[in-house]
Symmetry: C2
Subunit: 191 residues, 2 copies
DNA sequence: AGAATATGTGAGTGATCGCTCACGTTTGCT
DNA sequence: AGCAAACGTGAGCGATCACTCACATATTCT
């Protein structure tokens, strides 16, 4: 069963979604198609199980790195969130890409949206604990903006432009994007 | 030919990628499959043409709204960028979603990345013209972060959580995210 | 050992798909 | 009208796919 998931992941990362027929998955896993259907009711179920495992793994990396800075100040916490997202995206970037860019079924994406919502909840908890330091009145909106932003920027960097990560300004600048948005410090002069 | 593209767009928005077989496209367009292949060499070519048209339309909306504020101050320009991205995403949200979430071919996504790069160039031009007002030293990185951020936040809102757009804080807060990142105003106290 | 059960096999099924091609139909010219 | 080129047609081809099922093999009982 694990071998089926491992074979599927390998095919997806090497040949993309098109190469992942049930016969080929069975072949690479070293079992027969019949066996494959004893463990999974459908091809979609295999992919779904793989997505679930991948999402769980990414979220676990994210959550663990965040737990370490629950009491830290804003700057340190923001830097940790950014670094955590980068690490989470390094779990299996190729597989991550296939899931987000090649899966033709919409239902599959819901699983990714869910870890987004869970990440938002973690961040909102932090923001609420330090509410008096925060400029935004609507912390729900703030958490949404931050998580969406950091995820997008991280994703674009890790998946599409890995050379960005070599830029020593990358993490500090993304951190600044978050911190300057959140902190009360004087913004631009208000009209 | 236009009818083929229109039929394809309609099927994609109504039934998703799975429903868009060449026979069905021909049927909805009111032509025969044979005719379809006189205008397009392959099914992929139809989808590609549709993507190109869609991207061009979105970028044109974005570019036009931006041209109007080329000389405006940072706050106004940022607000315009945010509003422009929202408007661009309203061109055809359902089709946009299918393109980004259901197309199984990676090659198709390159076309979306290209308008991202073009948007970055527009933004960078503005940033460079006002370089002395900007805090970030690396305006290339700044343009990348801003465009990626505003696109992601806008996309998430328009496509997945349209109720966000009803929040009167939405545009101001996204604008604040950009302006506070860019402006020289005192950031958080530096260690 | 032998029956009963669980597990594994892979050729084959039916359905779908992108695409072709032999054949009509229309159009525009002389 | 007569012809030819351009345009349109749709049954059907070959390929592929997810999935099944009759059968073989392995395992666990008594």
């Amino acid at each position: 069963m694990g071998s089926i998931l491992r074979a599927t992941a390998r095919i997806l990362t090497r040949d993309g979604y098109e190469g992942a027929s049930t016969n080929r998955i069975a072949e690479v896993a070293g079992v027969s198609v019949g066996s494959l259907y004893q463990y999974f009711p459908s091809k979609d179920a295999i992919v779904a199980a793989l997505i679930d495992a991948h999402c769980e793994e990414m979220f676990e990396v994210f959550r663990r790195e965040l737990a370490a800075v629950a009491g830290a100040d804003l700057e340190a916490a923001a830097r940790a969130v950014v670094a955590a997202q980068i690490e989470a995206h390094k779990v299996n970037p190729k597989l991550h890409r296939v899931f987000l860019e090649q899966l033709p079924k919409v239902g599959m994406l819901k699983r990714f949206h869910e870890i987004g919502r869970r990440s938002e909840a973690l961040v909102r908890t932090y923001l609420e604990a330090r509410r008096e330091e925060m400029r935004p009145a609507n912390l729900d909106l703030a958490a949404f903006l931050l998580v969406t932003t950091v995820e997008a920027v991280t994703h674009a960097a890790v998946i599409d432009q890995p050379e960005r990560l070599d830029d020593p300004d990358f993490i500090p600048e993304v951190t600044a994007l978050c911190v300057r948005y959140l902190a009360k410090g004087s913004g631009p002069p208000r009209g």
